[in-house]
Each structure stands twice: as C-alpha cells, then as structure tokens.
Symmetry: C2
C-alpha cells in the first residue's frame, strides 16, 4: 500500500480523516506511527492536555465542568487481508479498520479538534493500543492499571462499531476446559480400557440440551450462551483415548459475577475436572444513570444490549458507566470486506457534537 | 549404541542370536544393514535358495515334499526409545524389538540354519521390511503383489509375539471419519448457528451405548470393538464450530467381509457423513484345516483368537491358512521396556523344530 501522509489534518472532514487513518497501517503492536501522528495532531491543539501511556494517547479538556465524559477508541487493527489502501465506493468507505474502528476514532478526533469548549462536560479522549490481541496487552487496561485517574468520568463512550446505535453494557465471558478421563487400551481389546471420547458424549449432549437464560436488565434482554468451542481427543488410530478435553465458552449476563458464572458451570458438570482458563466480568447497561440516560435521549436511539464483551467492561470495573456507540456494522469487524457507511460517520459526529455543544 | 557386528552367526544359540539382531538397529525404512546381514547368512547355507525382493529376503528348501510351510517375520522395529543395546536381566532379554519381533525372527533363523532336511514339509522363510508403518510399504505385501508364488504354502506361521501360544486368524479393521455438521456463529449470538460439537454428543453417546458383538468361529470367540479414537472440533475460542469429526476404529470378526463391516457402521449412523478411510479384512482361524490342526496338536497349546490385525491376513487373502506363533507378550510390543523371556525363545524353537523334524 501507499502511505500518503504520516501527519494528520484534523480540520479535514470525517470521511477524509477516516481514509487517512486507514491508510496508516496499525496492526496490533505496530501502531507506533499512527500513535505518533495522533499524539502530534492533538498536542497542536491548545485546548487539550495530552499525555502518552505506552502507545496510547490521552487528551483532556479542563474547563472545570462538574461532569466529565470519556470518548475512547483503539488505534490498532487485525492483520491486513488485501484490504488496503482505503477505497470509497459510493457511500461506503472500505479498508482495513474502516469499521473496526478507525471510523469511530475519526469521529472522536474530529470532536477533539472542533470542540475547544464543550458546554456542560469536560472531555477525556483516549486512543489506545492492542485491543485486538491478548487482554494483557490492551492499552486501555494498561491505563486503568497505571493511571486510573485518567479514566475518571461520569460516562464513557466507547466508539466501537454499533451501527450508529447504542449498545449498552456487555456480557461477561468465561472460558473453561472440561476434561473427561478414561483409560487407554488397544482398540483390539477396548474393554480393558475406558473410552474418554465416548464418555464425553454425555457432556456434549448436556450442552446440547442446555437452554441458556435470558436476563432482562434495564429493559434490555441479555441472552446468555454456553458453547463447546473445541473438542480434542485422540492418542493414535489404534488406541482407546484416555482423555477428551472440551473447551467451553460461556457468555453470561452482566448481572452475574465471575464467581457466579464459574459456579454455574461447575454445577452443570459436577462430575468432571473443570479448569477455568479465563473469565472477565461484563458491564451493566446503566441506563438508569443520569449521564447515560441523557446521552441516549439526545442520540434519539433505542439502546440494544451488547452481547459480546468489549472494553466497556474495563470502565464498568472502574465504576464508570459506559456504552458502545460508533459507526459501522459490528458484524463486518475483522472481515476483509469491512467498510463504514459515510452517513454513519456523519451522523455519529453530528449527534455527539450536538450533545456536547449544548448545555443539558 | 554400539554395533558389535554386521554379520550374523546362525550357529550361536537363540538368545545370543536375538541379542545380535537387536543390536543391529532396523527402524522401518532403515533395515538395509540387517537385511544384508540376514541375506548373507542365509545365502551361505547350501540347503536354501535365497531371493531378495526390495529389502525383504525369501529363503526356501526344495526337497520335493508334498506340503510347504511358510515361517515369516518382519525385520523392522518401531523407533528406538532409549532401549538399545540389548540387555539380559535374569531370564528376560530386553531391548528394542526383542519382543516385536526379533525374538521370533531369531527362532526362524535358527530353524533355517539347523534344519537342512525337514522331514515332511518344505519350508519357505520370509524376512520382510516395513511392517510397522503404512500398509503400502509392507514388505510382505510387496512380495504378495509382485511374487505371490513365493508365498504359496499349505500353512503360514507368522512369528509375531503371541506369548508362545497360538493366536489364530485375526480380526479386520475399519477406520472411518464421521463428520457432524453445523453452522458457524459468534458465541455471543450462538442461536444464529448450529453447534456441530453439541450435535456430536449423540454420536459419541451412541458409541458409548453400543455393545460390540462376540462372534464364535472354530470355537474361538472374536470380540469385536467400535471406538472413537479421535474427536476434532474447533474454529476459534469465540466461534460456534460448524464441524466435528469423529474418527472411529472398528474391529470386526474375520467372518465379516469389509463390505459388511462398512454397512454395519453406516447403518449405525445413517444420518451422518461417513468417510471410510481404510478397511482391511481379517483372517479366519482355519483350525479345521489339516495343516493348522496338526501344528496346534504338536505345539500342545490351546489356540486363542487374535483380536488385533496382523499380516496373517495377507496370507489368508492368498488362500494360505495362517496363524501367529511367537515368543514375547504382545502387550509389550512398542513399549520402551519390551523384552522377550528366554524360556519362550527356547520353547518356540524346540517345538517348531520338533514339528518340522518329525514326519506326521
């Protein structure tokens, strides 16, 4: 691909800015050029105080307003898939990260550049690294750990693609390995062993028969899920396997704690070894909180529940209500053909500006 | 390890000869040094006509007897596992291939060297390559395909370890992949897909519930088996898998044809895709045949059914009754600690010599 610039002009329109962002490659771990460009562009704005944490950038207004809102987005993308450089086809802007989430980042950068004096709330912009990889590399997580005061706010808006609607809260995720054991034997004398794969049939059947709960919170239905995502068994073609490992992925409503989610799985499979390999709490939608209610009202959208896990949970863990609101269809994220509709870029920018520019 | 010689002294006793064979490494495909040594030792015996087919050796007496018996063994071993050189510990001879099957080969070589004029039957000795690997490399199979007349006989004795007992016939083996299909979805919206791993629970449960048949032939009970030997499913940690492949291993009685064995599996799982990847027929025990009955009588052992598949089936396919008779516990085959009892080496040599040296 051709790199057309490494400095960013935040005065250009949101479509041109999105294209410029897409055309600076920033696969996870390789974001430094884009981070440098974002930092430099923000540092040039006298109304912002800019700090860098690793390869993440935090920029704040400090007008002394009684409320503060975080507007956040990650700068990294999944690996390229022949989808660079950016390409405008009618009203759709194609290219790596156009949907997830350089469109949302572009909206945030436009607000940062053009709202020197928000009317009622100070704003903290957060542009961070390594969202698309292992959680312990996540730039937002690093800020939360090292500089949590930078994330203090009454509301956080994560500009992940949500089709320009509000996706509130998010479900938690638990990953676990269920190990079913048996005893090896030669298949010609199978009765001398115990086939672990055969025994695993009962586990898989129980998963098939399981009906996940639907949990309603603030009027939103969080539909839980419990799925085997991997099954591994096998020693050799002539050996009765002595082990079968079933990896399960549980999506649990944000009203459940990680401990409750784990207990639920253990209660469902009391007779097997269960190794919980990862568990992250969800985030409550918080629609009843003033800051959230006011934003939802101004945006004029009907909130939907967020069923996948997103970084809103990192804010929730800090006690900051958070929601996803950004341009782009989330289903297109991580696809080679991802795009963002120009109309959604514009509507997100306009609505957020309207909310931030006008006193409540 | 230390190689102590590359020529073989067939006049030494069976224990020393077994140790010499063990101490010439001959992993499958790497047998040439051992094959050369065996060929040279046999070619030095004036009463034998020796031919080489690939890395297999065939040596025959030709006294004009009305009957002929094949005595066969493979020269290759599985890979070494820290079990070289050979080691004598009391009455047990340890080392790679001691059990499977250089002990049996040693007995056969001793008979070849010391029975210049068998009383009632001509003898064809077959020492072959690549038994421990894919069937299409098997040296006995190559002889059967290229020089089937070399295997013509009234009876074949395969000197595979059988604890110095007679293991008659062998069961057939069928390998098949059962593919259970579903539809991918993100685990946060699992209801939009169909979990193939969950559906596979019914297949595994059916295998768990299945009771294999016991088929009695010539008074021997062949206990069949039907086992999942591998289960593979999984796309990614957050994806409902759209496929689960279960590899099954069927052991079927020698009275069933491969076609019957395949139909049996298809009838058991009519609703799934089944890909039969390999099927080999078994071998009937043939205890009613004169040649077999006479040998069993002389050996003074009660025949047992052979439940695993062995190369006896290659003889059966040529119309030659065949059985397994050799020193060593078959359960020790392919183990790092394999050994052969000295007493079994001696009893196998003595009984076979007794049978071959005396007119019926």
């Amino acid at each position: 691909m051709t790199v057309r610039n490494t400095s960013l002009d935040l005065t250009t329109d949101v479509v041109a800015l999105t294209r410029a962002l897409v055309d600076i490659p920033s696969e996870s771990g390789e974001e430094v050029r884009l981070v440098d460009a974002v930092e430099a562009a923000l540092a040039a704005l006298p109304h912002l105080t800019v700090e860098r944490v690793g390869n993440s950038v935090v920029a704040r207004t400090d007008l002394g307003h009684p409320e503060r809102v975080v507007i956040a987005g990650h700068l990294d993308t999944v690996p390229a898939a022949g989808n660079l450089p950016s390409r405008l086809d009618g009203d759709l802007l194609y290219g790596l990260g156009a949907c997830d989430m350089k469109g949302g980042v572009s909206v945030a950068l436009r607000l940062a550049a053009t709202l020197p004096a928000p009317a009622a709330r100070d704003i903290t912009y957060v542009f961070y690294e390594c969202e698309e990889v292992e959680g312990d590399r996540n730039g937002l997580g690093r800020i939360a750990a090292e500089r949590p005061e930078l994330l203090d706010a009454d509301l956080a808006i994560l500009m992940e693609p949500s089709d320009a609607g509000v996706e509130a809260g998010c479900q938690g995720v638990l990953m676990a390995d269920i190990t079913v054991r048996g005893e090896r034997a030669h298949t010609a004398r199978a009765w001398m062993g115990v086939n672990a794969a055969h025994r695993a049939g009962a586990v898989l059947q129980r998963l098939a028969d399981h009906t996940p709960a639907r949990v309603v919170i603030d009027g939103l239905e969080y539909r839980e899920g419990l799925n085997a995502v991997a099954v591994r068994s096998g020693v050799a073609g002539n050996v009765v396997p002595d082990e079968c490992v079933i990896t399960i992925n549980s999506r649990f409503a944000p009203s459940r704690s990680p401990e409750e989610a784990e207990a639920y799985v253990r209660d469902l499979f009391p007779e097997y070894d269960i190794d919980v390999t990862d568990v992250v709490q969800g985030a409550l939608p918080g629609l009843g909180q003033d800051a959230v209610a006011s934003l939802v009202d101004v945006l004029g959208v009907v909130p939907r529940p967020k069923l996948g896990w997103t970084d809103v949970a990192r804010f929730a863990a800090l006690g900051v209500p958070a929601l996803n609101y950004g341009p782009g269809d989330p289903v297109l994220a991580h696809t080679a053909g991802e795009y963002v509709p120009v109309a959604q870029l514009r509507v997100c920018e306009e609505r957020l500006r309207g909310w931030l520019a006008v006193s409540p």
